[in-house]
Symmetry: D3
Subunit: 339 residues, 6 copies
């Protein structure tokens, strides 16, 4: 099975341990970005995963491609050129101190990409699935246009399309997001969101009776799912539910809706190692289980278990196998040593 | 606003991670000491904070001064000379294993300082606040005398004085502490203590009816506050309340008394990154909010939120901004990633 | 007091922090193995602890011996020769992701040792205690034979013998384990096990009425203890009880049976730093308290407190002192900083 | 004495040791830039050194300012705002493999600075010296204009001006450099160059008879000095002479010309620790010795000894004292341990 | 162009910096082996390089494959199975202290491979070149047989064959080497050797008149080349010439013989970063230049320049580009910073 | 053979790599001191080496003892008590920048030791050799007295005594050194010195005709040897000759005089990894070869080769075997990889 993901990957620079930016004399250097993270998840599950982007022709771009290759992501469709690779700095939080992200992503090669950089006909040749997030069209008008083109081409070629809304307030306004994303959504089969994305991008929210103390009830989430489906006709709507107890402990679960029924996953109490990329690993799990024809309950369980495990792994990439996810989804979260 | 703190700063040497002294081949090198920690807190909040001490004229002293300068603490009143910079070794505990501190602080430059090393007239010129802890007079008779002189001069010049009792059994006996501190207290406006300090230094404790299972009830703490105020006429008494669940988890809150009413803060359940300097960061928060005329409840909330955050930061210094403290004090302890 | 332990020690290679094997560019290098771990525990408690094994005559073997010597274990009876030192790779788990162990121990010097490599008469000269685990006879038929010889010689010389069953499915089948261990058990005075060992090695398990939801009730554990004692006539049976909440949190307690009464220890909720070697540190604590004539309750409390502390220490070795264990056993698990 | 330097400072990211970009999983993070490097040199020599630039208002900008402050550089005139701090990646070479620098400096705050960002009247108040390099005007037309304004203002206020030509082919063409720099040079008192700079920026080179095998003879260098002085009327011309034997070994010396005589320094054979910032440390030494009225020979010896030492220090900054430079300039290059 | 290399790759464990085995608490973990090293060299030059071996089906094998993939080596023909990945420990020498290698490679998957593990017909499909070293047949009789089969198949399919003699005394005797290698050599087109290999494997050495003070004269090397060619009919004989001044400094050059003339390369004085894999990088350069039809002098210059650069790079792999090699081969060994 | 060494061992704290004190955030922690270094050398050569000192009863003292034990030095005669372990900070130099040592050794346990802390009768029981350096008596009057007592007792018991003059200007004046050392020398059999020690401690220097350009001729060294022997009647005088080219390169050789003839060693050009402890490793080699009855030339060659190798090893301790020293002494300094 061949999956295409399209978006930005950045150099991620992070002080070791819990050091603040002010304290560190070095940065751990990894790479990450919503769609690349999904590609890595899928490559780990044995899927033929291709990541499409534009990257500068310099040693930092070369390094990024080598890293993707290491994790078995196919890089043949990556266009080379442009000025720079975007960077983001992450300071890991703990207890009541939140993690902090500083973006230095403007003027990146992908944000200045041209339609001619990508031959979607070739890229989608033999493909089964296409995934992107709301970050990609937010990178610039031309990138939004390219994303739309890709979605149209995918539809033409019978490739399923998934989109994680992923609203980023530093990249665009809610108005702009609404206008751009509304044009793209008709081509999307499966949408992934959390309550905040739905409200920020599409002004979709639960009615007051389903909100109490700032939190949605189950009915509130159901309402959001229904509205999303009703507005854009998605086949499936998936919702991630994060309860942030602190920067060190989160509860994590998910919800899947097929227009008919709601499927709720187990809920995990997570001791956090690295929370960045958690949502993307949910997307990776979701796509894998849908590609493999899992039933609805198994699908949401696999996606949530996969992303639960991500929180125990350093870096954006979810480096777990199908077996590891299945073991957890089957109920073994005891963490006993595997000898 | 100009604040003066006076005391000892030491080289802090710590094995990486959770290594025991026996295991490590290297020490992380930072600097710390009660009054320097308070100065760093205040400098981070934008206060013109000066740290006064005596330091050897060698590269280790130079390094310490550079570190203070980095964190924006003014070092102009630091006297140079004497034999050595004190050192303390810290082994970080976890779960049921406590952190261990080994002191190698005897014969330090500050402990052998002379009255002529400090020109308090110049130091307090334009100053608003003077802070020290019970460790400073414990360093030696002459240092105790210098501390008393400083307090008298502060009073003369209308500079507010705060003192964190901070009893250290390795430095002096309770008898000696009582006798020395009792002479200094009349010059102190704001005192900071925990129940142990109050008992060890001044034999002030709650009556039996307010103690159960070794723990004080709220009334017990109120009793301690009242006795402290009654004995020395402090304007304000601040109490830190630490519940040690284990070396990895603590509950943390505070109490403030103005002779009239008791103000109790929110309580935080903390996953500990580094617990050393927790009390000092409370002092820093308290001074900042008092200098800025916060009301009593806001004062104790700011001080406790500030020191809650300190537990998530490596090293003695509380490297947080006013905004970060306020966000937590306002109730956002969810630790959600700040993008 | 002189204690002998006999078995395999391996080079332990572990990625730093929570890195997966796939991510790391370096391995932390320590050494560990059931019986060596017990010897280190005992050496830390001031016991004259000797570790007996066979090790290759190369710099890796030299390094291992130096490490044992550092921790005060006597290495004079170690035979040198053979092909290699066994290796095991450990990937530390967190939250719902379990730790993973990859063994590369085949063809090690000890697994190919010959009877002539060890002079048990000399080794047991003046000895008070002999300890081994079920791993040693599992290394090969000849090693099993050597173990039996050692046990017989110990009995002859009035040396007490303890055995931790420690079933390893990668080394032998349950049938083989049963047959070999059944021959050795008659020479054993004190046996250490958990419920899984008892079932895997000797098919001893609790009756259905004492199992609920896959967990044993207290009566279930009592049943296992009684059967063990009844079958082999042990003087004492000690059981470790681990409840794995996740890879980051475990509950830990123990049970001791003397054929007459059952003694249950306090239970600790542990935030895990390193869980490997937890069982061995229980064995070390048990032997120490028995050698020192502690009463039954103190014995199990010391053993459980010792092994509780182990979980807070990196590496296989339990680097704690008698005082540290006693403080915890007496009830101080608050983890307050020791200044 | 107050010295002003003006230009760009960047985040410097470097793989540890001799790792190639492709190999590293972390970057050592320091800061550097021609004029900031000169300011640090001077601050180390006890000069009141101010660095002027524009920096983004984010934690990376804050970190950079703290680092300058640590090394005693005054940061009060730094303007905050703009998009980003420039970055450069350095891969350290060895033997026949050259060091490689990858720039990611476009769109930096300083390159987009406005004239209103700097109040030169205030900045030059009480100043004795102003230094910049050819990199600053190369950052953009507006920055070139600001540099010219600063030079004019310096002249007005009687502040001496020095410029290190420092041609960077990635920032501008030789034509552009010639046209811009020719307008600024009339305000410069002391120019620093190497033969390549002189040729690239001003097409000034030695006549054929003074070149053999690609290398200039002493007469060749004299010719370059004279032409520079004749064209722009500099008071002094300083030339650095680097002979690159390999990335690990360089010979290093300098030449100073006052329009009358040539002063040549001792030549050092250097085992290289870090070669970046070598030229800037020459500038720092030159300005210090000129400010202190050293005679011509002592001036060039101090500047060359200072920059010789820089090659033994990690990072851009030359962290040496006046005494250390003088010891070397006096002839002690034996490297004997200082106890 | 498609190149196949066949042999063993091992996990390489090395203490950081210049630490001795006895001192280190960690090992840097890379991978290396003669034929894998050649494959990496070629992949870096843009060649379609495939490495053939057998590797265990465990996370260490997975990690090794990911590392090869990162460096663009094709891993599709790698057979999975067997017991373990070989390991070698390297302690880096300096000055008069030699580097030390401790092998732990017995029982590796490749050393116990079966003929059926490799489908040479498929592997050589479309291939241009086949490379192996004398280490591969030394791993065991069956591996020797497989190597012979591969050579025969290569010949059949018109694939050029190169062999680096690489005698390893720990793997086999000179007698065994002679007997096995003599059977394989008739299928080899290009042989790589140093004087020691030629003597140890084939008893080929220079006559006394061409040896002085233990060193061969040019004539001595010519004699060795001629004898090699005469005995086995190689098309080309390549000789590497290492002069070990110390563990920190080596001279390095090479010689190429085509049966007609001798071509000697430039000689480089190298400051060593990592000397392991030096010979393999020579092989990689040689194959690349031959595949590209370089003339004889350019061929030996490229191979020697490539391997000169290897000595400046950590690890077994020669991570340099064709441009970097050409720059050095053209004479630029000055190591000037590339900006 | 049993050797006793007596003196101070300190915690050595060093920034990683070539970082200056100002730059580092951590210190590598090892232990070192003249006599402990000699004991480690000897333990490595298989000698029963005992180090005698006084050390504080705290975890830092425990760590130091464990480290000595790791390297096989016997620690049974170490007295525990006193205030602190001395510390010295080392900043590693490079090229023209010298290494810098900052001592923080005052008030150490050994410097305040009492005669009753050591039972010399027991210590020298069965001993063959006693070694100390001029640093020990310089630690204080009482330590000088203890040293004299030890020497007298050694003489009584027929134990050979060696002393390395090792003048330390920070510990005492030349006058004091002369007076104290002159009383101890009559008990010394073998003295080790360099020209500076001889002059500083005993005002023994070569006549002008044997000095040129500040350097001694061979005759100059002979003169110094003779005067030392004539004044105190030593059996043997050993001189180390260090030529400091730079902090990165030294030449190293030695001279031995038996009152009859002078024996000069080979001279080594050394690329320095760590130069501290170089002299002590010479002492260790000298004692070993004398204990083993080597002839005079072999003795000086072994001592110089041993100390040559020390310069390639991190830390104070010379971690080399007899075989490694012999290989170098026999002439193999080529540094070829040992496989």
């Amino acid at each position: 099975m061949k999956v295409i993901t399209f978006g930005e990957i950045m150099l991620r620079l992070q002080p070791p341990g819990y050091q603040r930016f002010m304290q560190t004399q070095s940065f751990e250097a990894t790479f990450g970005g919503g769609e690349a993270n999904v590609a890595v998840s899928l490559a780990n599950y044995g899927i033929d995963a291709h990541f499409v982007t534009k990257m500068p022709k310099n040693p930092i771009g070369d390094k990024c491609i080598a890293e993707l290759r290491k994790y078995n992501v196919k890089t043949d469709y990556i266009s080379r050129g442009g000025e720079r690779l975007g960077i983001y700095f992450v300071e890991k939080g703990a207890s009541q101190r939140p993690s902090q992200v500083v973006y230095d992503r403007a003027h990146s090669s992908i944000s200045t990409a041209q339609p001619a950089d990508f031959d979607w006909d070739e890229i989608f040749d033999g493909a089964d699935w296409f995934h992107f997030t709301g970050i990609t069209p937010a990178l610039g008008d031309l990138v939004a246009e390219i994303t739309l083109t890709a979605c149209q081409k995918a539809k033409e070629k019978g490739v399923k399309v998934s989109c994680d809304l992923n609203y980023r307030k530093k990249l665009w306004t809610t108005q702009k997001a609404n206008s751009v994303m509304s044009k793209i959504m008709p081509f999307v089969n499966v949408v992934i969101a959390n309550e905040e994305d739905a409200e920020k991008v599409f002004e979709i929210k639960a009615s007051n009776s389903n909100i109490s103390g700032g939190h949605l009830s189950d009915e509130g989430y159901h309402e959001v799912c229904k509205q999303l489906k009703d507005r854009f006709g998605f086949e499936k709507v998936a919702i991630t539910l994060r309860e942030s107890i602190s920067a060190s402990t989160n509860n994590w679960s998910g919800l899947l809706y097929d227009g008919d029924k709601f499927y709720k996953s187990a809920k995990y109490e997570i001791t956090i190692v690295d929370r960045v990329g958690g949502g993307d690993s949910f997307g990776g799990g979701l796509i894998y289980s849908m590609l493999n024809g899992y039933d609805m309950q198994d699908t949401i369980e696999f996606a949530v278990a996969a992303s639960c495990l991500k929180h125990s792994i350093e870096g954006d990439f979810n480096l777990v196998s199908v077996d590891e996810v299945k073991n957890l989804a089957k109920g073994d979260g005891s963490g006993r040593v595997q000898r």
